[in-house]
């Protein structure tokens, strides 16, 4: 399972970077979304996969029975998902506004302020 997920994460990173390098703003945004998902899955896998062992402490015990699934990576991912969603929404609006105002939808040609 870990190998499979590792391959998936690698594939997502590769796809995201490929899309980021495209001149189309739409592809760039899809790339950013994919990158965020790749990172979230990476945290999930790197945090360790444990099946069917919830981190619940039985009454009277001081710690859950080992091995148990670590809840922290999931909390981290949840935070990261929320942030990524908000930022992506902003980016989408920004790019749309920029494409309309600047009148260019090819990122390679967006260099009028560099001179």
């Amino acid at each position: 399972m870990e190998l499979l997920l590792a391959l998936l994460v690698g594939g997502l990173y590769a796809g995201a970077i490929y899309l980021l390098l495209q001149p189309s703003p739409v592809k760039l945004i899809i790339g950013l979304g994919m990158l965020a998902n790749a990172v979230n899955l990476l945290i999930f896998v790197a945090g360790g996969l444990t099946r069917g062992q919830p981190p619940l402490i039985a009454e009277g015990a001081l710690q859950p029975p080992v091995p148990f699934a670590d809840p922290l990576p999931q909390a981290l991912i949840l935070t990261a998902i929320v942030i990524a969603f908000g930022v992506l929404a902003f980016t989408l609006v920004l790019f749309r506004q920029a494409a309309e105002t600047v009148g260019i939808d090819n990122l390679d040609e967006m260099r009028t302020i560099d001179q």
Binding site: V39, A46, V87, L94
Partner: protein
């Protein structure tokens, strides 16, 4: 337990919320902006005093003991940086009263200004790496809005580049965090320092160090990650440019210094050696880019890059003297560089352009402005007795002591080129005759606006002078901060309390 460390974050957050409630009340928001940032500065100074007295001020949020909860940690370095946030916030809030147009003020400018300050203060005070990521995002989100607010064509174009590269950097940072958690099982920085020391997995730790270097390097605009900065920083209103120039890249530098003194100190030859090479290249490419520019604000943007090289040079040399040099340089640079951006804003206001080819004769029209520019510019170039001289002296001496003669030579020649490009602005914009095509010349600024524009600019310029004349206490403080940074055990003890 003192609640002090949370205040520099809480005050701007509350001010931001209140500013949002006062939507459309422009004057009230201006007042809140000034009062809020003044309160922030006051709290920051109190915090610095407390840290000087006690060494560390630690707050465990919600009383969850470290490493389980989130700790806020103020050591000397972070307390000093929070004071700088306060100074910059106040200066920019006053400057914005006349420096930012009502259009932008009506669309929440002050709220996002406060949010940015909260984010930056959070970055400086947190003791938890994931929390650092969250504060980074708070800061970035506010900076995205400030960059794009107003919706001018050039602004949006700059914002597209700025937003994209920063999101990629955040993804790097988050990836590194995920792997680090998998490796060490904690994200509390003090606990990480202990765990990484025990771990003995040099290969993986070095890989992580490089990921962090890339993530923070992009934010700090280090070579080869700096291209986004000169492509975007000259587009927003000058008040925003000054704030970004003063604070945002410095957060990247702060994070680098924090991570590479506390966490990744297992293989100094490799990691810090690489940082040294990068520092040299950053200085050189930044200044060469600046020399080639003909627009004042773009020129200054390239100088931000080149100056960041000095700050990481101190980190790379990794001696108490060098780190103290880095810290003094950080403080000096925040003041001088923001001062220069504020001056460029007044120039823009006076002449309607910052293109050097179309400027001239400002010395005759606005001698006060010319003197303020000269003070900041000479401080940036490192002329005695201004603040930049002392930081460079510390760095050069540390370099000589470490026998890194090449980096010393680079640092000195980059200083010379800095002086050269500052002279270029001086000659073309202030001293020389205005070109015939320039037309009517000065646009006059009304008295009240003049006060709001000149007061903060003069304050920053005078602080650079003060930083130079009173270098003794400043250097002493920086040396104490550097000693704390080089002794992670003290930090660990303060945060974890006896538990390891």
């Amino acid at each position: 337990m003192s609640q002090l460390p949370v205040l520099p974050i809480l005050i701007p957050l509350i001010m931001a919320a209140v500013s949002l409630l006062l939507w459309r009340q422009r004057r009230l928001q201006q007042l809140l902006g000034v009062l809020g940032t003044a309160a922030h500065l006051g709290v920051a100074l109190t915090l610095l005093q407390a840290v000087r007295r006690e060494g560390f001020v630690v707050l465990q949020l919600g009383n969850w003991p470290a490493p389980f909860g989130i700790s806020l940690v103020a050591d000397l370095f972070s307390a000093m940086m929070v004071v700088m946030v306060g100074i910059m916030g106040l200066a920019v809030a006053v400057y914005s009263i006349a420096g930012v147009d009502p259009e932008r003020e009506f669309f929440g400018y002050y709220a996002f200004l406060q949010l940015l300050l909260a984010g930056v203060s959070g970055c400086f005070l947190t003791g938890d790496l994931f929390n650092l990521y969250v504060w980074f995002e708070v800061m970035l989100m506010a900076s995205f809005v400030l960059m794009a607010l107003g919706g001018e064509r050039r602004q949006l174009e700059g914002a597209v580049k700025y937003v994209t590269i920063n999101l990629v950097a955040s993804a790097f940072f988050l990836s590194a965090l995920g792997i680090l958690y998998g490796l060490a099982g904690t994200l509390n920085m003090a606990d990480l320092s202990v765990q990484l020391g025990r771990l003995n997995r040099p290969g993986l730790t070095s890989t992580l160090a490089m990921l962090f270097l890339a993530a923070f390097g992009i934010k700090a605009a280090l070579f080869p990650f700096f291209f986004w900065l000169p492509a975007s920083y000259h587009t927003p209103p000058p008040a925003v440019s000054a704030l970004f120039a003063g604070l945002l890249t410095k957060v990247g530098v702060y994070s680098l210094i924090r991570v590479f003194t506390l966490l990744f100190v297992h293989d100094l030859g490799y990691t810090h050696g690489l940082i040294l090479v990068i520092s040299g290249l950053t200085m050189v490419t930044g200044v060469l880019g600046a020399v080639a520019q003909g627009e004042m604000r773009r020129l200054l943007s390239f100088h931000i890059v080149s100056q960041v090289g000095y700050m990481t040079m101190g980190l790379a040399l990794f001696t108490p003297l060098a780190l103290a040099g880095s810290i003094v340089h950080l403080i000096h640079n925040i003041l001088a560089k923001s001062g220069l951006f504020l001056v460029s804003g007044v120039v823009l206001r006076l002449r309607g352009t910052t293109d050097l080819a179309r400027l001239g004769g400002l010395y005759r029209g606005a001698p006060g402005l010319a003197i303020l520019f000269l003070l900041c510019a000479l401080a940036l170039a490192g002329l005695p007795p201004l603040s930049g001289f002392w930081s460079k002296l510390l760095l050069v001496r540390a370099g000589l002591e470490a026998e890194s003669y090449l980096i010393v030579a680079v640092a000195l020649s980059v200083s010379l080129l800095t002086l050269f490009s500052m002279t270029k602005i001086w000659l073309k914009a202030f001293w020389g005759e205005p070109p015939a095509a320039a037309g009517a010349g000065e646009i006059s600024i009304p008295g009240a606006a003049r006060l709001s524009l000149f007061l903060p600019t003069a304050a920053l310029a005078l602080l650079t002078v003060a930083g130079g004349l009173l270098a003794g206490p400043l250097v002493e403080l920086a040396l104490a901060a550097a000693a704390q940074l080089l002794e992670p055990a003290g930090y660990v003890r303060a945060v974890l309390g006896g538990r390891t």
